[in-house]
Every structure is written in C-alpha cells, then in structure tokens.
C-alpha cells in the first residue's frame, strides 16, 4: 500500500467561509433498507418492492401482507372486496382475547385474518381469498372460516374458480372448538364447489400450518407453494420436542413437500401471476362448450 503520509496537507481554509447549516446529520433512515433473514445482506426497500419482496441476492421470499399480494396478482382496479365488515367477538370469554383482537386490528389495519372478494386475473374473473399474517398470524377463527366458506359458496353460485393464498398458524386457540369446526365447514364448501366441476387453486405461503393445512389449504385441485415456505400440521419445533430428535434440514419446507407429492409445483413470486394466468386459461371452459370442455 502507498504510504498514507505520502502527500502533505495544503491547509487551505474552507472556501466561501460559511459552512452549510444542516438540520440533521447525514444518516441512513431505517425504513430505507431491510436486511435479509436468510443471507443477512442489506437491500433497499425500493429494490425489494420492485422485486416482489424477494431478496435480489439470495431469492428469499420476505413475508408480505394480503393487500400487497392482491396488488401483485389481481389486474389493477378489478378487486371487489366482500364481507369486509365481519369481525370476531370473544364468545368463550377467553382471557385476554379481546385485547389481542384489538391489537391485531390496529397492527394489521384489517378486521380479520382473511380478505375475500372477486377480481380479474388477466381478464379471467375469479373469486379470491388471501390470508393475512399480520392479524394473529392468520389463525382461523369463526370469522376466517365463515369468510372462506362464503367465498366458496359465492364462487359456486357464480361459476367462478377460486384462487386462495394461505398463511396461517392454524386454528385460533382462543375460539376453541368453534375454531376447530371451521375445518369441517370450509371443507364442505370446497367439496360442493369442486362437485360443480369448478377449479380451486391453492397457493401455500410461509407459514401454512395446523388446522388450515389440515383443511382447505390441502384441498386445492392444484396446490402451488412459494419457495422454502413452511408447510406443516404440527410445526418442526413441536415435533423435535416430542420425538427428541433433530429433524433433517429442509424438513416441512415446500421443496420437501414437493418431493413427497403434497405440493404440485413451487412457484416463485416473480412468475406467480403468469403461472396462475396460464392455469386459468387451461381450465377455462371455452364459450359455447359444455362442462366437459368439448365444443
């Protein structure tokens, strides 16, 4: 290395005398960057937004909320939300549940853990449900179950395919048996929709666990998953503690489930809309054709 003291300092006075008075010292605002939990590299928030909230360095899919997902998948200005007003109450008088609900509403800006409605994907009209992780980890209580049932019933009545994004910690324990019975209720609605010959496309995102995995998440005609999403009934920590053994790397991740045949394909966010669009095109009955697709 060249000697640091190679050159003398000229000791010139600062030109134009006055220093600029600054309101604040230069600093990198914390909201400008996010560090990737997988590769620990720093990325600019704007880069992440332009890259479907996927780490440009390692491909890690950051968790995103339901509205962001809707923006990514649905054609602009076509989404019409249904039953936004439904919200949960503490029927079992579970201690602390009221406060939790209140906090979840404030934190997520949503009334419950799922958004349902209709919209267009590349001009195909579809019914959608998108679960919201920031509302009590997308856990399924009566309202979540009811909204999902309602959207399947609506889709059945109007002959629409259903596109569903799942993210959930499972059934909501504060609602006890009332939450658990949502598994049977939603499954019934999925079955009736399916019996009518209609398409249900489930997209499992990180994490999809518990009662949701054990019901409508795994009942899709086609089941897609995001890379490295945790998809489980009982989570890895519970299993490790029960069997007292370390689990292999990648256990219960989307890639593992694909290998075991529980998932049909892993679709990164960058090609998700394109994939859904193609699947919809393939499964749309041409005008004038009957339900078997023949013309």
């Amino acid at each position: 290395m060249l000697n640091k003291g190679l050159f003398k300092k000229p000791k010139n006075e600062l030109e134009a005398q006055h220093r600029i008075k600054r309101k604040t010292d230069p600093a990198i605002p914390s909201e400008l960057c996010r560090s990737c939990p997988s590769c620990k590299q720093l990325s600019f928030t704007s880069d992440l937004e332009n890259n479907f909230h996927v780490c440009p360095k390692c491909g890690h899919h950051f968790r995103i909320n339901a509205r962001q997902r809707l923006n990514m998948i649905v054609d602009p200005d076509t989404f019409v939300e249904q039953h936004h007003e439904l919200s949960s109450s503490n029927r079992l008088e579970f201690p602390g549940y009221d406060e939790k609900l209140e906090q979840a509403t404030l934190f997520s800006h949503e009334n419950e853990g799922v958004i349902i409605g209709t919209g267009k994907i590349d001009n195909h009209k579809v019914a959608l449900f998108v679960m919201e992780a920031t509302f009590m980890m997308g856990s399924m209580g009566q309202v979540v179950g009811e909204k999902i049932t309602l959207i399947f019933e609506y889709a059945h009545k109007h002959h629409l395919p259903v596109i569903g994004y799942t993210v959930s910690g499972g059934a909501r324990m504060q609602e006890g048996m009332l939450a658990l019975m949502q598994m049977a209720k939603t499954s019934g609605a999925v079955k009736r929709h399916s019996d009518a010959g209609l398409l249900y496309l489930a997209i499992l995102t990180d994490p999809t666990t518990g009662g949701v995995t054990a019901s409508f998440a795994m009942e899709g005609d086609i089941i897609l998953a995001e890379p490295e999403a945790l998809i489980a009934f009982a989570g890895p920590r519970v299993i490790e503690q029960t069997i007292r053994q370390r689990l292999p790397k990648g256990f219960q991740r989307a890639e593992f489930l694909l290998e075991k045949g529980f998932v049909d394909a892993i679709v990164p966010r960058s090609i998700q809309k394109e994939t859904v669009k193609r699947l919809l095109t393939l499964h749309t009955i041409p005008k004038g054709g009957d339900q078997n697709g023949s013309i």
């Binding site: 060249l2 050159f7 010139n12 600062l14 006055h18 230069p26 600019f44």
Partner: protein, 450 residues
C-alpha cells in the same frame, strides 16, 4: 460550503475531484475496492474507506456500502465523477433520502434524460431540434406519405429494437413500402412487437456537444462546445474545443438553444447536451449527459472555468459569479485519451506494472492520470489511464504542441494508444478539420489518395 465530500469513483477523475477539494479547503473521503488499495486517490484523500471486492458491482456500484461510508465519515456531499453511479437516479435519490447532497442534477432529471424517448420529447418541447422522424406508425400508406415528407435516405426503426436488429435503411421512395413491411416483420419475429417509427438517416455527421453550468438560482451559462467526432466504436479518442467546423452563427444558435433547454427543464449543476451536426450545419439533439464528462478539461482550458469546483459550489447552493457575457473562448485545446489498449491487436486492453513513466511538461500541458512509476494496473476497470490536454493560441499551434507532448509521454510496462493519436493529428482530413464520426472506421488507416 461543504466541509467534507466523499468521492464515489476511482482513477484520474477521483484525483481530479480531490485536487479541486484541496484547493477549496474541503476534506475528502476516497472509497476503494480491494484491487485499488495501491491507487493514488486512496493516498491523496484525507480519509479512505474500502467498500468491497474488486468487481465494480460489489464496490464502486455498491450503493449501500458507499452510503454507509459517507454516513460513517460524516461526508456532507458525494461527487459521483463520471460513469459508475453518476447517472443512476436511484443513487441520487437515496443520497437525498440520507441527507447527503448529490453533486449533480436532481434524480428526477437524471431519470428523465436517461430515458431515450422521454429525453427526446422533453427536449423537443423545450425547443431543441431533434432528428426529423415520426412516432409509431402502423398504416403503410400514412407511413409512406410521412417518409416522403422527411426525405431519403431514412431509417425504419423498431420500437423494441436493439443490437442492430429491427433497423432498415430506405434509400428511395419506391423501395419504402417493401422495406417498411420487412422491418415490421423482422421486429415482430425478433421482439414480438411490430411497432416501428421513421427517422431521418444522417450521413457524414459531427458529434458536437455544449457544456452547461446551471446553478440553483436559474442562472445558466454555456461554456462553448467540444467536438468529439474522433470515435472508435462509440468511444471517444480525441476531442477538441472549439470545433473547427462551427461558424460563430451556428455556435451562437447551439449555445442559445442549449441554455433555453436547461432553463426549461429546470436543470441544475454541470451537464452536457450532445448534438449531431450535418455538413450543412443543421444540428439535432442526440442526448443529454447529466454529469461531469471525461473531456471537460478542454473546456476548462479555453474558458478558464474550473468545472469541478463549480459543480461543488452549485451543489452547496452558491450562485454563479459570472454570466454568459463573461464567457470568452480563448485559443484552442485538444485532449487525447490514453488507453491501455494495443492498437496493433484491435485495441485489446492490457494491464501490467509501470516500469517507467515520463509525463510531458512545459506551459499549457496537462496530464490527468492515475499512473505513477511502479503502479500495477488492475484488470478489472476501464482501460483509460490518462488524459493529455494541451492549450495554445490557434488550432495549428495546438496540434503542434499535442504532437510534441505525445512524443514526450513515455509509459513503459503497458501498450497504449498514443501512436494512434499521433497518426490522427497528422492526418490531412483531421488537419483540415474535415472529419466526421465515421473517421476512424472509413478514413483512418486508408492509404491516402495523393
């Protein structure tokens, strides 16, 4: 005035900026990659910070590392130099968000001028002549009519075109419909988009650019022009100011149009508007460079204005202390870009250790370089190793001075381009000032007819 500036660049331009700061009493922070730890700019700056490994994407283009370096050292402004991040609107915007002044125009302007289409329409709206042409035309008959209005030869260009594909040259009106159909077909096949537009085909053109300085108080001065028609594969080799082919009237018109355009778009800091000029003296907007340019020293030589210092003052909010009427072009200046390339091997870049260096001297000779004796040129970066600039009273005297200076320049250890520049300076067409952008391709190296 800023008390500390970070220079987000390397090589001779980093040195150039550090020198300006030293004169102004501004403290400097150099950033460098691991391959550059022995570079001069690292030693010359008051502080230096390593920002990553050799590859530019990991170091000199690593925005988060550079911003972190600025914040850690308390730099109030960043000078991006040329190339690298200098025309990156995202970088300029992030600087602003971090409370660091970006020495250059606003990110909105950088973005606008970086988009070819948007720059063209913005400039046309500001009254700058653009190459005659059309928007996308889908009706063959309408296109034919427009083509006749523009005149031949003309180009049919694909909207999504690139890499020479989707461009067809039409020489005569009777060929138009056929070529137009072929161009659309080709564009459809290559880019899945058959949108095409028409543009006048300019032959025998000169590359002339106007240097502007604009402060934050709506003062704009044009510092004359530079002629940069000596290019090889779009890389400039030699530039001169003033251009031997500009009449005072055209110069006046070009400067006025450029100043008005800068005012109209609210331009700030140093910038250059590039024009193509045909043999008849018609000039058309080509693009705007929203940064300091490599060849800025020739303008400094003929105007006596230190462009880098003014960039810093303007970014600090100071007004220009001189007006257009105070700008007088004096004498003539030529710059030769010395590249570490072997002209005998199709200008293949090379690197190595400098075993001996002799820098030309004497009055009005300037050599901006990153070289020193014993320096090893790393293989990762641009091949330009120095710029030789000379200034004299007339063009003829300047050519003489440049020839003498080039012969005095000795760089042992690498192959470089100075012999090519010596040959250019002796070429009759260059001496006559009668050269165009195709000079290196079509004239240079051809046996002379006499």
């Amino acid at each position: 005035m800023f008390s500390k500036i970070l220079i987000a660049n390397r090589g001779e331009i980093a040195l150039r900026i550090i020198r300006a700061c030293k004169e102004m009493g501004v403290a400097t922070v150099a950033v460098f990659s691991t391959a550059d730890e022995n570079s001069l700019h690292v030693s010359l700056a008051d502080e230096s910070i390593c920002i990553g490994p050799a590859a530019v994407t990991d170091s000199y283009l690593n925005i988060s590392a550079i911003l972190s370096a600025a914040v850690l050292t308390g730099a109030e402004a960043i000078h991006p130099g040329y190339g690298l991040l200098s025309e990156n609107p995202k970088f300029a915007r992030l600087c602003a968000q971090c409370g660091i002044a970006f020495i250059g125009p606003t990110w909105e302007i950088i973005q606008k001028m970086g988009d070819k289409d948007q720059a063209r329409t913005t400039m046309a709206a500001a009254g700058v002549p653009i190459v005659p042409g059309t928007d996308i035309i889908n009706d063959p008959d309408e296109a034919h009519q427009k083509a006749d209005e523009i005149g031949y030869p003309l180009l049919v260009k694909a909207r999504s075109g690139g890499g020479g594909k989707g461009i067809r040259l039409v020489e005569r009106s009777e060929d138009f419909l056929n070529e137009y159909a072929l161009a659309r077909q080709e564009a459809q096949n290559a880019f899945n988009d058959d949108g095409v537009y028409l543009e006048k085909f300019l032959t025998r053109v000169k590359h002339i650019e106007i240097q502007l300085l604009c402060d934050q108080h709506q003062h704009v001065v044009a510092l004359g022009e530079r002629e940069c028609s000596i290019q090889r594969k779009n890389q400039k080799l030699l530039e001169e100011s003033p251009s031997p082919s500009l009449t005072p009237k055209i110069r006046q018109a070009m400067m006025e149009v450029s100043r008005q355009a800068a005012l109209a778009i609210g331009y700030e800091n140093a910038g250059t508007i590039e024009f193509l000029m045909d043999a008849q003296g018609h000039f058309y907007f080509m693009e705007m460079n929203t940064r300091l340019q490599v060849e800025h020293p020739i303008t400094e030589m003929v105007t006596g204005v230190d462009i880098v210092k003014w960039q810093i003052r303007i970014a600090a909010g100071l007004p220009l202390t001189f007006g257009q009427e105070d700008v007088h072009i004096q004498g003539h200046a030529i710059e030769c870009r010395i590249n570490a390339e072997n002209p005998l091997l199709d200008f293949r870049p090379n690197c190595g250790t400098i075993s001996f260096l002799h820098v030309p001297g004497g009055p009005w000779v300037r050599f901006d370089t990153l070289l020193y004796q014993g320096y090893s040129i790393p293989p990762y970066y641009d091949s330009m190793v120095g710029k030789l600039i000379v200034h004299s009273k007339t063009r003829e005297l300047t050519i003489r001075k440049m020839k003498a200076a080039l012969c005095e320049l000795v760089i042992e250890g690498i192959d470089h381009t100075s012999q090519v520049q010596l040959d250019i300076l002796s070429h009759p067409l260059f001496i006559a000032g009668d050269y165009f952008t195709d000079f290196m391709e079509n004239e240079f190296g051809k046996p002379l007819s006499e």
